[in-house]
Symmetry: C2
Subunit: 327 residues, 2 copies
């Protein structure tokens, strides 16, 4: 498909409180070095009491809009592409809209939810809107607060997570930039390999009790996910690279950063060199859907404009995506 957007601004925000791997080892009674060795995460950030995902989203959004040389009044649509939902009604995007104030009055607000791949799916969605003639500037924000929901009895997943937000402004171009190539696939037979079962309608807040408490926490069968991704992701990436008529070696790669081992596995299976990879996992942990746009934000200074980028990764669902586009 044609690429109808340029990324004209990005922003990122990590809350100020830092938790180190050594602190987690001590807190959870793990042998010293366990967290760093098993997760690849040296530090992560946690928001202050009372600080919400919407506050973090606002910081990242304002930074992205300023970087684009725009003002809030220029934004036509606000897409929240996060996994963590602030409240069931209204959407995260409406709450961010409220926080951004009267200058965005009338701008569309909606959520796109594809767990860890929400930002990538939102990019392709905005590209479609632009193709159809809708909107000029679209703001996409992912803001994640996973430390609310981790299961501290499962260090393998709990010690991975970090909090933060990232945003990008997409601007419609008058003539397509060139081809971009997008694949997003779901395999629902693995819907429960990674999940938070409780908190929605199936197992509501009303039903929460001491016995089922763990079901309201994040669950991930990491080894099984690795197996599924090893099998399904390489063919998708190969297809997208073939469609893009580009060698992997020519691309900057922004992967979903689930964990150190997951990023290593991805690089090994796909044959991605270390210097191509834009990864900040060691500093901030798994930021859920905010991981990819946060890496985009930090990488943007290092990647020359006009470079081609591959965003790639997996999500609960099980879903996987590969997106090649021009920065």
């Amino acid at each position: 498909m044609q690429q109808y957007f340029r990324i004209t601004g990005t922003g990122g925000y990590l809350p100020h409180q830092v938790i180190t791997a050594a602190e987690l080892d001590a807190r959870l009674g793990l042998e010293p070095g366990w967290t760093l060795r098993h997760t690849g995460v040296a530090t992560r950030h946690q928001r202050a009491p009372g600080e919400t995902a919407t506050d973090m989203a606002r910081h990242a959004a304002l930074a992205a809009i300023a970087a684009a040389g725009l003002t809030l009044r220029d934004i036509d649509a606000i897409v929240d592409a996060s996994t963590c939902q602030q409240q069931p009604i209204p959407s995260n995007a409406a709450l961010l809209h409220e926080a951004l104030g009267p200058e965005v009055r009338g701008a569309a607000a909606l959520d796109v939810h594809a767990t860890c791949l929400s930002f990538v799916v939102a990019l392709a969605t905005a590209n479609g809107w632009f193709a159809s003639g809708l909107y000029r500037h679209v703001l996409i924000v992912s803001s994640e607060t996973p430390l609310d929901g981790v299961n501290w009895f499962d260090p393998a997943s709990a010690c991975l997570m970090g909090e933060g937000a990232a945003a990008a402004v997409l601007t419609r171009v008058s003539a397509p930039v060139g081809e971009c190539n997008y694949g997003y696939e779901t395999f629902g037979e693995h819907a429960h390999v990674c999940e938070v079962a409780g908190g929605g309608h199936r197992l509501p807040a009303f039903a929460f009790n001491a016995e089922n408490a763990a079901r309201y926490r994040f669950f991930m069968d990491g080894p099984k996910l690795h197996k599924i991704a090893s099998r399904h992701l390489p063919p998708l990436v190969a297809r997208i690279l073939a469609e893009a008529r580009v060698d992997l070696a020519a691309l900057h790669v922004i992967p979903h950063q689930a964990s150190g081992p997951a990023v290593e596995l991805l690089a090994r299976r796909l044959g991605i060199a270390r210097e191509q990879l834009h990864v900040g996992l060691a500093e901030h942990g798994n930021l859920v859907a905010a991981g990819i746009p946060y890496a985009l934000h930090t990488a943007r200074g290092q990647i020359p404009a006009g470079s081609r980028v591959l965003m790639v990764g997996t999500a609960a669902g099980y879903s996987q995506a590969a997106f090649v586009f021009t920065l």
Copy 2:
């Protein structure tokens, strides 16, 4: 913008158990006739114990795919456009994907969340995907289980709600059908006029207790919403009709069916004649985001193909939409 889709199939599903207005009057100790008079809802449906929103979504989806003369293997993307979330992770669409089975393996699954207007926003989103060259057949499903979350101490909102699901298959056309005209606007300063505050990260399941229980239930300040809609919706509709160069009288109108009084107000403010309106509220109540596609499904037999349709309504956010397209 150009219209790149045809609606090639629709489906609807209402669960079998029927609750009448008289039964609600009795259950809530209201004076006989109160529920019907205040809500316009004579009957509503409630799902059987153990029946989930995913089950209902599956019924509606299969009906829509059959009506389109397609099979599950033809579906490229599954969009869940519902307000009620089944569980925080994965998306509703991934759970539906799982329920639809191996024939949809690899089809994209994601949620588009704009509360009661989710289906309308998903239509415009699919139109964009088609414009950019993505996908051939997109399934959009709204499935709502609001009776889990109503506040029975607030009859004005509790007696409105009903459960059900509706789906549509959109098929990309090789040449645009013609112009379609879409406006979707949010006014975040009214984000809390209609909300469910508890159940997400701001007020999590863990924090549920006897004192804050009502905050986990649906809240709507109906009179205030009516005022906001009266002020903001007519200018949006006027703009979309002007862009579409069409008289309102020439359109079939599918409104969001919040309540009897809300539909009457909408018709009066916008000047919509009763015979133009496709409304099933009396039979099934406010189906949340499923209301518009359910009305589309029931109207489809009565509206000649090629007719122009206006979908119009409001949602929590506060958001509002108007979409003129060709059926």
